[in-house]
């Protein structure tokens, strides 16, 4: 009792600690100063550029008369000569497909040569990286400009231009994904005494196929977009029509073809995004498009999807187990797209 009493004897209330001065911005390190300097330089150069060229954010508003005039001449959009336009649309698709194909053919070996976990020889890696950087830096339109002089106007020029330019991006992304593979399967195959070629085909390649296909599809999407333009320098495809209409001042047809291109690009992008989602497994393959729109799968679907595959596999006697994965919807999609 006394002890308790003694304890509760009046005591000075705890004084709050001295307020320390804390700046609410991080300190000015050298790095931060550099960042700000770079940022301000960028804005400065950009402002000078806009002033020099005579463009400001409201230019479109000030020039509304000129643009309005043009739009008046463009309206309503019209598509005549369905035959040539249909043909050049097919050409455009063809250029995008074959160009991507050539790009992949060249980029796969380059990607392997440029990956640091496959090739130990630095010089070879450096050469491969150099080719990749160079082909990426030169726009496909300039490749097309060069090839038009060699192969004359036509689809072939576009195919080569797209193919060579694609090598840059494809090679870089391929090399990156090769460098990210897991070493486990590779070491396992090595431990069986395999040759280097066998190691490549069974330990490394299977890990890469999904990401390679996804990257290729992405590039196909980009190439289709560029293929619509290559005709502007005479490389075939729908761009040829655009150039013709521009030269002949047939603005209604110009707008018509432009709208057609926009529609095609949107469709190709939607298809390639969906297929890529399926391959990379971001989407559930057995969820229909409408279910996705409605917002997620039903509970029954969800349960059906999560059958314990490991348990099923363990219950199967060893002699009946399959070496290859079953032909489920996902695998069919992958191979279907690959063959296509």
């Amino acid at each position: 009792m006394t002890i308790l009493h003694a304890r509760s004897a009046p005591e000075a209330p705890p004084t709050p600690p001295e307020p320390t001065f804390r700046p609410d911005t991080p300190p000015w390190t050298r790095e931060r100063a550099t960042m700000w300097a770079i940022g301000l330089t960028f804005v400065g150069v950009a402002l000078y550029a806009l002033y020099d060229i005579g463009v400001n954010p409201l230019t479109l508003f000030f020039e509304r008369d000129d643009i309005g005039n043009l739009l008046e001449r463009m309206w309503p959009p019209r598509i005549e000569e369905f035959g040539p336009i249909w043909e050049s649309t097919l050409d455009t698709f063809f250029m995008a497909f074959v160009g991507t194909f050539i790009g992949v053919l060249l980029a796969v070996p380059l990607g392997f040569f440029a990956a640091s976990n496959i090739v130990r020889w630095r010089l070879l890696r450096g050469v491969a990286r150099g080719i990749i950087v160079f082909t990426r830096a030169i726009p496909e339109l300039i490749f097309a400009l060069i090839f038009v002089r060699v192969y004359s106007i036509g689809v072939l020029t576009g195919v080569l231009a797209l193919g060579l330019h694609s090598v840059g991006m494809l090679g870089k992304l391929f090399a990156d994904s090769i460098e990210q593979i897991q070493e486990g399967p590779r070491e396992g195959v090595q431990a069986t005494g395999s040759s280097r070629g066998q190691e490549l085909t069974t330990g490394i390649a299977p890990q890469l196929i999904p990401s390679f296909i996804a990257i290729t599809l992405y590039r196909l999407d980009i190439n289709f977009r560029s293929a619509t333009l290559l005709g502007l320098v005479g490389a075939g495809g729908i761009g040829l029509q655009i150039r013709a209409y521009q030269g002949q001042l047939r603005y209604q047809e110009l707008l018509g073809v432009t709208l057609l291109i926009i529609a095609l690009v949107v469709i190709v992008e939607l298809v390639s995004t969906t297929v890529r989602g399926i391959i990379l497994g971001h989407d559930k393959t057995n969820v229909s498009f409408w279910q996705k729109l409605r917002g997620g799968p039903k509970a029954a679907d969800y349960r059906a999807e999560h059958v314990d595959t490991a348990a099923v596999a363990a219950a199967t006697p060893m002699s009946q187990r399959r070496l290859r994965p079953p032909w489920d919807k996902e695998r069919k999609t992958k191979y279907g797209v690959g063959v296509g």
Binding site: G39, V45, A49, P57, F94, L229, Q246, T258, I261
Partner: protein, 235 residues
Amino acid sequence: MQAKIVADLSLVELVTGIPEIPRVFWRMIPTDFDWWVEGFGEDLIETVLMGFGATLLGLLFAIPTGFLAARNVAPARWIYGTARLFILGVRAMPELILAVIFVAALGLGPKPGVLALAVGLYGFATKLFADAIEEVSEGPRDGIRATGASRTQEAVSAVLPQAMPSIVGNSLYLLDASIRGSTVLGIVGGGGIGFALLQGAKLLKWDLLGGLLIIIFVIVYGIELISGWVRRRII
């Protein structure tokens, strides 16, 4: 049927044409500076300036609309949907066709080129920014909202700082893309070095083409190196 005919024709040509490629590139290696014309320096500077200007112009409009196109920040569901649809449409418009249209409206020169480039970048930038904004965490927003902040205050002081590193990183990437894009605008009359390239190709001046391509490569690669370095520091 048509596609098959096209394919047959091209495959033959393709195979016979492949040996030509190394020869073309070999002829493009410049051995002297005879191809250099006084105006090229200005054209090259104009190309780089066009890239910078278009980036700033695109960013200026992209940051506000990026907020509207982010699901977690947009004021209403229908605004988010409309903004996303709008961006998809803008992004599908190829820059060069826009340049053709702007050149037809405003005449030749860098002005229509910058505008076309800026519209193209705007679509791309808005998508990247909206995606970045959708990834911010909710904690700081809740904190700011608890102080009774308005929607604008919340966006400026809770969302923007979180999204800033990725916005800056993406902007640098856009600057690369912009300068690369401005090199070809001259082909349709949009200013910059593209016109000289087109003339060089028309007159079959291979060394001129090769020389200019090397200079463009150095510029583009230099800016890529700088922006890559800055991006690594930020993220």
